[in-house]
Symmetry: C2
Subunit: 167 residues, 2 copies
Amino acid sequence: MSDPGAVSSDRSAAWAALLRVHAALVPRLDRELRQAAGMPLAWYDVLLELHAAPEARLRMSDLGERVVLSRTRVSRVVDELVDAGLVLRETNPRDGRSALATLTKAGARRLRAAAPVYLDGIDRHFTQHLTDPEQKAITRGLNRVLAGDPIPPPTVRSPDSPGQRVR
Amino acid sequence: MSDPGAVSSDRSAAWAALLRVHAALVPRLDRELRQAAGMPLAWYDVLLELHAAPEARLRMSDLGERVVLSRTRVSRVVDELVDAGLVLRETNPRDGRSALATLTKAGARRLRAAAPVYLDGIDRHFTQHLTDPEQKAITRGLNRVLAGDPIPPPTVRSPDSPGQRVR
DNA sequence: GAAGATTGAATGCTCAATCTTA
DNA sequence: TAAGATTGAGCATTCAATCTTC
């Protein structure tokens, strides 16, 4: 239990910083991407995951799990992408219930055009301000949070047995 | 410039992890806070900043800068809080253009009741999964991102001059 | 006219209900 | 009946226009 009298705490300093960075950067990156590549962040996210998938193709529900969007929202965004000719929606031949979203040639082209804009934005606004160990700590730590894993046991380093676990 | 052929990159791994953690945790913490304290995250955020301010009072625009909400949104949220009796809205006696939001006794009470719920949620879902050095790296690094500061010069540590700067 | 704040209209997003196939 | 997906209605959020005071 928390101290019921306390209203804030630096137990939550890292979380507060994460919230503020998200609030500051997401609208900025979204605006830059729209202006320079005519594409909102949600589109980019979907196109990127399709690009990374085998045969550039995913079931809607699998897409929903990978992407930073709700499953319902994915339906709407894919609608927009189909209208724009960047994605194809087809029924899964193996299972008539599910739909497959496939990246089109035009979609891959638009993604390639948008990628440098987004990646450079992330560099300028985010990565550039972090030391290399900080980037590693953020990536490792936040992925552990996502997985819900406990913190690992402590490690010791020595010349003859680098990174060995204690106990 | 980025490699125009690349579409993803682990230059953005830390950013991607931040986006995913935000997308996973914010709705969860919001739901817990609503259920256990009858209060959405936006309310908590505003009440917390008022509580931290001198005399528990802030101009609307100052509140908008501190809080993780747009300035427009703050007007609506304060409307709700005034209706709920948790905040008072008055005209600034020093400047008739600006409005002051003040935390009421009831508002402070509701905040104290909600705080353990939120803080425990942050612990369980976030902090608990991070090592202490990771928490420090996240806090320091993300606050540097927020400030837009460059990475600091390297430091050396020795018994007689701990943490001294090189160069 | 500019600063501070609010509001109406339009957009974005989510929840629950629905539809279809397995 | 359950899994997969979409849709309509209702809420949340933002943008631009407005109002008031300096």
